[in-house]
Symmetry: C2
Subunit: 357 residues, 2 copies
């Protein structure tokens, strides 16, 4: 444990908060200081079932976390429609922000959050854990040798129960109106932007194959992204609550290709793999290939969510101790991802039109 760990408060006891509470515990430079729920029973139950130390404060309102002067940073796993209110309030109270994805219902809301963060000098980061896995850095290193990217496909699917599809937070129009687009495609879009060094696509077009629940929330959608220059790249994303679990990222470029099947949540916690091919050619007579894909394993001492917390805490500590500026990379990544989410949404809403960015 660091001498002066960054103290986290959690606003809302959603399921995902269990994973992040554990991550805060595992991160060497962070400590959980407070949790909150609008129901004290729910908060106490959360503390008990997750074995939180007695030192953790248990509050029955979110405001208490924001008013606690000991809290340096807050993690907000609330339904997306509540993000703008609580995130802006948290920033005004000088709390650094770890905000669950999707960051907001649209980029206008996200801009209000980011402006609040900037004017209050607090760090912003969204909850895209996979970006912090060492495998991700290793893949990026390899991609640098691939030449111009030709095609990227990414999909995130999961088979939800019919109860989930009609009543879960992520399928309710007043809570998470983006549905699978916000919950799952966020990752696919993020992965494609990551592969393209965060260059925004020229055009985003949704395919006319959207499936919605009875309340109109997106349960499944598909879209294409393309870049006109400097390299012509095409990408497709697919997200669905109606399919078997998949978390695919496949990248083809002029000199190599890369495949990973668990890019969002690795199959195992301490080791993750991907495979790639460089310089593939067909053998004489086209009866085989000169190379087979190579599998590369990356070990991780800490799970990716703990690495995420550790990175945020490192930045917060820099701001707190050395008066350094917040790192602009993380809000920029979130904003570009949200912009593309918005473009897919707009394309769907306006009859699958191409949306230029």
């Amino acid at each position: 444990m660091a001498e002066n760990p960054v103290r986290f408060g959690i606003i809302g006891c959603a399921d995902i908060a269990k994973k992040v509470a554990r991550a805060i515990d595992l991160a060497p430079n962070a400590v959980l200081h407070a949790i909150s729920s609008r129901s004290i029973e729910k908060a106490m139950n959360f503390a008990a079932t997750n074995g939180l130390p007695e030192a953790v404060n248990i509050y029955d309102s979110y405001d208490q976390v924001l008013d606690d002067p000991c809290v340096d940073a807050v993690y907000i796993p609330l339904p997306t429609s509540l993000h703008v209110h609580w995130a802006v309030l948290a920033a005004r109270k000088k709390k650094h922000l770890l905000l669950e994805k999707p960051t907001a219902l649209d980029v206008a809301e996200l801009d209000r959050i980011l402006e609040a963060c900037e004017s209050n000098g607090v760090q912003f980061m969204d909850g895209s854990m996979w970006l912090h896995h060492p495998r991700t850095a290793k893949m990026k290193e390899l991609l640098c040798n691939f030449g111009p990217l030709d095609f990227i496909h990414s999909q995130s699917t999961t088979s939800a129960t019919s109860e989930f599809l009609e009543s879960n937070i992520r399928a309710q129009p007043d809570l998470d109106s983006l549905g699978a687009l916000g919950d799952l495609a966020w990752y696919c879009i993020g992965a494609i932007l990551w592969a393209k060094d965060y260059q925004l696509p020229t055009t985003v077009t949704a395919l006319p194959v959207v499936i919605r629940n009875s309340a109109g929330v997106i349960l499944s959608c598909t879209a294409s992204l393309h870049w006109d220059q400097p390299d012509r790249t095409v990408a497709t994303i697919h997200c669905s609550f109606l399919s078997h679990s998949s978390m695919d990222l496949a990248i083809s470029a002029s000199k190599g290709s890369l495949h990973v099947k668990d890019f969002i949540i690795p199959f195992q916690e301490h080791s993750a793999s991907f495979d790639f091919t460089l310089g593939a050619k067909f053998a004489d007579l086209h009866i085989g290939w000169n190379v087979k894909p190579k599998e590369l394993h990356t070990a991780s001492q800490l799970p990716q969510e703990a690495l995420m917390v550790q990175e945020l805490a490192r930045l917060v500590d820099g701001i707190r101790e050395s008066k350094s500026h917040p790192e602009s990379k993380w809000p920029e990544i979130s904003r570009k991802t949200q912009l593309v989410v918005d473009a897919v949404k707009k394309s769907i809403d306006f009859g699958y039109i191409p949306v230029n960015l």
Copy 2:
């Protein structure tokens, strides 16, 4: 060697003919009887460099192959624009047909070929070798447990030299005007139809990202296919002469997913693999999965192209010896594949409109 092997003639000494000449040699029920080229030097050189037995007849015109009464079946690897002429002529001369893909420039041409085959009682089969690999049957067996298919992505890419892109047969408008769509997407479309048990899609839409060479031939394109019922399935294809070699097929369904990275030409000749996941769920706290993909290897005594020749020869032998009817499955598969190729072409030609089938 069977007692009465089916005797093949090859019309045109294209590069791919070397692979098929070897396959005819390997197939236990087939024998190479004649080869032909419009240049006798080219034909003699083909015979010498491929170590063909002296018994193989070498002709300097395609007509000589068709007029040779000993030839039972012909393999036609000519440029696509020449298929309709030579395939119809071959059928009229009662030669069974192994026709290289794409089968024709459009389905109207293919129908002329298929009508000639039907009225002359000869077997038709296109050169999609991968359909004959035992791995393909094994994948199909597994797919039966997957439930409704949600999403399929298939791509076939290869990095061609700039010389190829401007002057190869497959990039010349008067020889193979379908370019990468005919040469590469044929496989992707075939694989998707195969996965969907040859149910034609409701709608085919090309994406506005086509790249052409100076003569207007397609070097790269992307399209989406979707089915409205009984199951809602979405598929995407991508083909390109401008990218690293890839031959991907990824299928997600309600209960399982499957990935193969070399579905057209296996990495190795005598063994091929794919991987699949059935019943995947996330571990508690979403810190891993309950299962990892399983890799399944399928051995093959003969290369897939020899299995293709063997299957055609088996059908020809049945027709020859037992007066059985030609097998309708193979022309039906080709025709449906060609219909979807045509739909992608139409979508591109008319400004990326959705084309209903």
